[in-house]
């Protein structure tokens, strides 16, 4: 039980790949948070609890959840219907944390959705799932049906005045659908282009109505905050930030996987204790701490705690907290090219810097790897990292894409230069074996 209290998100998830049934879920205190919220608290009380708990968005940006909710117009005069939308479009390379929560403990998400929807007085909620998450969709639908049967969903939830409908929508599949406003457009059946902000979704979101979009993992925290209380939740964190978090690691480590650990767990502990350290014959050269759209960090940063502020101070972002490891046998230039190809491909094509800048970056990286690079290409790349930076583009896709590039230029410049110099010195073309060889494997591990 003590162990469970430290890993609230995954306490029902067993290594045998089975999933938590409604009975399993209820047996560990499931839907207690909902009962407390609906029976004892007003929506604003729930907002306050989540705000006080210090829960921050687990989708990548880390925006305080309670604060996000507080921008929703409340009361009699608020525009209706209001919507809660779950962002389950987990398509960031290297990220597989939401999948675990969706597939293995679907009721936890359902409960999180209901409490959160109650907090903003939403009458309709959608779970927007990545298209490939077939199993997740199936299990979510089953869980939702069960929740309707038990009056956790539908009219007059648990005999209260509050009613909520919940639907699952599976995406047609674009990375950009993970951007919350592009997600809303996709949900409306439009092109998945992001929207200009302001107006923020809380003011004009789905179908132009007040809407909150929260990540799967974020919402999974909510039942526990309501059930066990703010103080308990705050104590879960080891550093600045509160609660626990799913941390992942992939790459050439001994045990790639996913672990629920307190916020503030040092990176070294995740990599060396939980992931078992590097595979034999490989050394750690760097890692993307928050997934594909975050800046590289180096072995010298291993003792940085996985806290929003600390990682930012080190020059990166906690992102989805699903780390990707760069080893000494993998070419960092090729790894960056692989990532940039992904981002260029996934650009929605709306704004110029992203649509036309990313393909240019890709073409330069290809030139460099294929022996056609020039030293001033590095300046052009550096120029792009500024040009495609925050504020210059329409959404965060391109600035995210520039994370690995700008940090690689900083930390692995010698690798870039080596390719270019070998070309300019006429030594001949480098082998480009690793260009395609680098793969982003997402392997689910045990606990």
């Amino acid at each position: 039980m003590i162990m469970d209290m430290n890993t609230p998100l995954t306490k029902n998830i067993k290594p045998d790949r089975a999933f938590a049934t409604l009975d399993n879920y209820l047996s560990t205190g499931g839907y207690e948070g909902l009962r407390i919220a609906i029976k004892e608290l007003t929506p604003l009380d729930v907002q306050r609890a989540v705000k006080d708990a210090g829960l921050r968005g687990r989708g990548g940006a880390g925006f305080p959840t309670g604060l996000k909710w507080s921008f929703v117009p409340m009361g009699e005069d608020a525009p209706r219907p209001k919507y809660l939308v779950v962002n389950g479009d987990e398509m960031e390379p290297g990220a597989f944390k939401d999948r675990l929560l969706i597939e293995r403990d679907p009721h936890q998400l359902v409960e999180g959705v209901i409490i959160s929807a109650y907090a903003i007085e939403a009458s309709m909620a959608y779970i927007f799932l990545r298209g490939e998450y077939h199993l997740g969709a199936q299990r979510m639908k089953q869980a939702i049906a069960e929740a309707y049967d038990r009056h956790y969903l539908g009219k007059n939830i648990l005999g209260s005045d509050y009613s909520l409908e919940l639907h699952v929508h599976t995406s047609a599949g674009r990375y950009i659908c993970g951007e919350e406003t592009a997600l809303l457009n996709a949900l409306e059946g439009k092109r998945a282009n992001p929207r200009a902000k302001p107006p923020f979704p809380q003011i004009s979101g789905l179908w132009g109505k007040p809407t909150v979009v929260n990540n799967v993992e974020t919402l999974c925290n909510v039942p526990h905050i309501l059930h066990y209380g703010v103080d308990w939740y705050q104590e879960l964190g080891r550093g600045e930030d509160k609660g626990t978090k799913l941390f992942g690691a992939s790459g050439r480590i001994k045990r790639p996987g996913l672990w629920e650990l307190p916020m503030g767990t040092p990176i070294r502990e995740i990599l060396e204790v939980h992931a078992g350290g590097m595979q034999e014959g490989f050394r750690l050269r760097g890692f993307l701490p928050g997934g594909a759209s975050t800046d590289f960090l180096l072995p010298e940063h291993l003792d940085v705690p996985m806290d929003y502020g600390a990682i930012e101070k080190a020059g990166s972002r906690i992102g989805t907290a699903t780390m990707i490891i760069l080893d000494d046998k993998t070419c960092p230039v090729a790894m960056v090219l692989n990532l940039e190809q992904f981002f260029a491909q996934e650009s929605c094509g709306w704004c110029t810097p992203c649509r036309d800048g990313l393909p240019w970056v890709v073409s330069i990286l290809q030139d460099i790897l294929n022996g056609r690079g020039r030293m001033d290409d590095l300046d052009t790349l550096a120029r792009h990292t500024r040009l495609l930076g925050p504020g210059n583009t329409y959404c965060a896709l391109a600035p995210g894409a520039m994370g690995p590039l700008q940090s690689a230029l900083k930390y692995f410049r010698a690798d870039f230069e080596r390719f270019i110099r070998q070309n300019t010195e006429g030594i001949g073309r480098m082998t480009t074996k690793n260009t395609k060889g680098f793969s982003l494997s997402a392997v689910e591990g045990g606990q």
């Binding site: 674009r174 092109r191 929207r195 200009a196 302001p198 107006p199 003011i203 004009s204 179908w207 132009g208 260029a344 491909q345 996934e346 650009s347 929605c348 094509g349 709306w350 704004c351 110029t352 810097p353 649509r355 036309d356 800048g357 990313l358 393909p359 240019w360 073409s363 330069i364 030139d367 052009t380 120029r383 040009l387 504020g391 210059n392 583009t393 329409y394």
Partner: protein, 892 residues
């Protein structure tokens, strides 16, 4: 007004604007692509970046997109800061990575916004070494070329086509740098406003196919201020000429009328000017006259010989000057208006209502601001297309109110549309058949014309009990009327739209009653008439065509002068045949050949709008002057010249003399003198050149014949010159041939001529309103009985087509491709009663003449039972709606 600081200087800017439009309004240059003055901001191209500073102490600032940032009081920005100039150059460089370097062979070259902006940002050196992405182009129909490789993905085409014009067959496909703007497959772009893509596209993706047929660079086109002659809206156009041929028509901004957009009929219907059917030589007894003078003498002879037995038939497609010259030459008693026999009472009634009603006649700009519209009996998209475009924008007023409540600026286009979703201002359409505005209507009602009128009368009575009531309303009619009346009453700026479209006087009167019933200051009425000078002609009060026919049958007509009119479009064939046989001498003054001209003894070749000067009065009573874009060749003269040049008749030397005489003779035309400055107008002693300052081809044009340039034709009729020399600035808008400003070679340069973005032209929008709302008006009281289906005959309701119902544009080859085959529209139940299906033939026995016609059936589920739709003016069908009823039968 907010004050903002731009690069250290203070500017007063319009309230509520964004920084981009504020900067442009101040005359500052700031490059942009995705923004369009009347389509608002979406922030996609990132080209209009500026630096915004928090306060006087902030020296760093941050880059913002000026189109997406409100110009709030106290805002401090820089356009010129080196880092943001570099940013804009880099964005442009990105846009150019895939853009082909085909400017020399691209038809947009020389008026390409992308070229202009490239120069403006200073991007000159290409660093991108990669391959360019390539696309397949599509066949988009006879109007528009598609060259997708040039696309810079500004999204303006789809935003115009779908969001603004309501089209759905142009879209954006794929993603990242493969985004593709086109149709789902090759095919004709269906929207009536597709031609605007040519001007909306900032580069050469969509270009004018008709221009391509005889291509000339913008800088080699001679242009003139002109007015579209293809409907009664009176859109201002800028036709372009070279080598004596009209090459194209583009939009010429007018702050109250067409503003930025034309319809495809207006843009692509100019082909008749270059047509083989043009009458270029005067003809005497089907033989070319020895000279124009010889023909003139023949006319004088006829007029002198038969004084008192000469009548004239005017034309709603001829200018005031031409009609007036005919009226003046022969005397008012001998002047017949030349409207269709059926439409004469309708147009006259409309002109009468316009001149006597206390309802305001809104401009298109005002129509756009209406917050509830009731269209009664008019298919506006097909009769006055650009007015329909204005109605389509008006339904968005509800979304602006929603946006205001959410503090979303009205110019933030995507966000406003998102917030508003399907919320629209009320638009009710009552018509015989479906219309192209149905998709944005709150409700549509399909009825026979008499029932449409009854609905209108009932609405009027519900709004103002003083209005006569319809006593025998059915329950359904009452509830329909209540819905409409309720919405109109709640509106702040309601509008009633009707017209001669469905051929019913009662419908027009009912619409007038509704407008009159509206509260004081909210009475607004738009009445659509079919032709470019229908109102002007009606105001001249000519006699009925049928009276001419009657008079001729008594033998009292020896000579008829038919002015710019094909009588076979105006009355039934048998009647016209008889008339032309009864009249001894038929004289036709026209620019285009037609059946009436073929029977004329004397044909005098008149100029089209492209060769002559004249004044047209549009649907709102606005007199607007058009000027020749090319000097007339051969025997071509203005109609008024043919009529006045006869010795001793008048002392008219110039068109201004005709206008002055008109103003003097008919006081209601008094102010039409002010429609444009007279010929004596000069700017610092100079005339206004029709040719652009870079008319570089001038010296080469005839170099294969002789190196010496011929003297440019003299234009003593206007203040314009057939020259590239003259006044370049301070041109009055009515005399401005087109828009151009240094660094702004495309039509986007219009922003340099507006008093503020989307505002009026500096120096006043052209034209002058001849009609102001009057104080007096009385109710119309003749309410028709409910219409009853007759067992053995069908009521023929006119159906109008943007392509085909207007005769001049129908002669343009690309437009002719879009004209539907003649057909008869039938309700499916009626069709099955007759045992005919779609595409099968049906025989019409026209009443009362019992003339027989065979037409193909087109099913229209929305036509009321017992009403058959007959398309007006399609090949072989009457040009106006004088067929009223028919018996139908299958062909045995």
């Amino acid at each position: 007004m907010p004050t903002i600081e731009i690069d250290g200087r203070s500017y007063e800017v319009e309230a509520g604007a964004n920084l981009l439009s504020a900067c442009l309004s101040q005359g500052l240059d700031l490059p942009y692509f995705c923004w369009h003055p009347c389509m608002g901001s979406v922030g996609s191209c990132r080209q209009c970046a500026v630096i915004q500073y928090r306060d006087a102490h902030d020296v760093q600032g941050r880059i913002v997109m000026s189109c997406m940032t409100p110009a709030a009081d106290g805002a401090r920005i820089s356009i010129e800061a080196p880092e943001v100039k570099a940013f804009r150059a880099e964005i442009l460089e990105l846009l150019m990575t895939n853009h082909p370097h085909d400017c020399p062979v691209c038809e947009e070259g020389g008026e390409c916004h992308l070229q202009d902006m490239t120069v403006m940002t200073g991007h000159t050196f290409r660093q991108y070494r990669g391959k360019k992405r390539t696309h397949r182009n599509q066949y988009l129909g006879p109007f528009i070329h598609h060259e997708m490789n040039r696309c810079i993905a500004c999204y303006r085409c789809v935003r115009f086509y779908r969001d603004y014009a309501g089209g759905d067959d142009l879209g954006v496909f794929a993603s990242h740098n493969h985004v593709y703007f086109g149709r789902h497959e090759d095919g004709v772009l269906e929207n009536e406003f597709s031609g605007n893509l040519v001007e909306v596209c900032p580069t050469g993706v969509f270009t004018d196919k008709t221009l391509s047929e005889h291509y000339t660079r913008k800088w080699d086109l001679q242009a003139a201020p002109s007015v579209c002659v293809h409907c009664a809206v009176g859109c201002n156009i800028s036709p372009g000429e070279r080598y004596g041929k009209l090459r194209r028509v583009i939009n010429r901004y007018h702050g109250e009328v067409n503003r930025y957009f034309l319809c495809d009929r207006g843009r692509f219907g100019y082909g008749f000017v270059n047509s083989d059917r043009r009458l270029r030589k005067a003809m005497i007894e089907k033989q070319p006259a020895v000279s124009g003078e010889a023909a003139q003498q023949r006319l004088s002879f006829l007029l002198a010989q038969q004084r008192g037995k000469v009548i004239g038939i005017g034309s709603p497609r001829a200018s005031l000057e031409a009609n007036f010259a005919l009226r003046e030459r022969l005397g008012a008693d001998y002047f017949y208006a030349g409207f269709g026999v059926d439409e004469h009472p309708l147009i006259t009634a409309i002109a009468e209502i316009m001149q006597s009603s206390c309802a305001r006649i809104p401009t298109l700009r005002e129509i756009e601001q209406s917050d509830a519209i009731f269209i009664l009996g008019e298919d506006v998209t097909n009769t006055a297309p650009v007015m329909a475009l204005a109605v389509r924008q008006a339904v968005r007023n509800a979304s602006f109110e929603i946006a205001d409540r959410l503090h979303i600026p009205r110019w933030q286009d995507e966000a406003v549309r998102e917030a508003a979703q399907q919320e629209k201002s009320p638009l009710f359409i009552a018509s015989c058949d479906r219309t192209r505005l149905d998709d944005v209507a709150t409700a549509t009602f399909r009825k026979a014309p008499d029932d449409l009128a009854r609905l209108g009368f009932a609405v009027a009575h519900l709004i103002d009990p003083e209005a006569p009531a319809v006593t025998d309303l059915s329950e359904q009619e009452r509830s329909e009327a209540e819905v409409i009346a309720g919405a109109l009453k709640r509106a702040k700026r309601p509008l009633i739209v009707s017209g001669s479209g469905c051929g019913s006087l009662a419908v027009i009167q009912a619409a007038a009653n509704v407008a009159l019933a509206l509260p004081e200051k909210a009475k607004a009425l738009s009445l659509v008439v079919p032709e470019c000078n229908s109102i002007g002609l009606a105001m001249m009060q000519g006699r009925l065509l049928n009276e001419a026919f009657q008079l001729a049958s008594t033998g009292a007509v020896a000579t008829v002068i038919v002015l710019e009119n094909d009588l076979y479009r105006r009355a039934e064939r048998v009647v016209v045949d008889r008339f032309l046989a009864e009249v001894e001498h038929v004289v036709v003054i026209d620019h285009i050949g037609h059946e009436t001209a073929e029977q004329a003894e004397l044909v005098l070749s008149a100029g089209t709008f492209a060769e002559t000067e004249g004044t047209l009065v549009n649907y709102e009573g606005r007199a607007q002057r058009f000027f020749p874009v090319l000097a007339p060749a051969d025997d071509i003269r203005s109609a008024w010249q043919w009529l006045s040049d006869a010795p001793g008749q008048t002392d008219w030397r110039h068109v201004d003399d005709v206008i002055s005489a008109l103003a003097q003779r008919l006081p209601r035309f008094q102010s039409c003198r002010d429609a444009a400055p007279f010929a004596s107008f000069r700017i610092t002693g100079m005339k206004i050149p029709r040719q652009p300052p870079r008319y570089s081809g001038r010296t080469a044009m005839r170099a294969n014949i002789t190196v010496s340039e011929p003297k440019a034709p003299d234009d003593s009729d206007s203040a314009l010159a057939f020259s590239m020399e003259g006044a370049e600035s301070a041109r009055p808008p009515a005399l401005n041939p087109g828009f151009w400003a240094p660094g702004w070679n495309s039509n986007q340069s219009v922003i340099k001529f507006q008093d503020e973005i989307n505002g009026h032209l500096r120096g006043d929008d052209p034209g002058v309103r001849l009609i102001r709302e009057a104080g007096r008006a009385s109710w119309f009281r003749e309410i028709p009985d409910a219409w009853r289906v007759l067992s053995d005959q069908w009521l023929l309701a006119p159906i109008r087509h943007i392509f085909g119902s207007e005769p001049l544009s129908a002669l343009s080859a690309p437009l002719a491709e879009r004209i539907p085959e003649p057909y008869l529209a039938l309700n499916p139940d009626d069709a099955s009663r007759l045992e005919v299906g779609e595409g099968e033939s049906v025989e019409l026995e026209l009443l009362p003449q019992m003339e027989r016609r065979v037409l193909t059936v087109r099913l229209s589920a929305e036509l009321p039972a017992g009403v058959a739709g007959i398309p007006v003016g399609l090949p072989g069908l009457p040009g106006t709606a004088f067929w009223k009823a028919a018996k139908l039968g299958t062909i045995s």
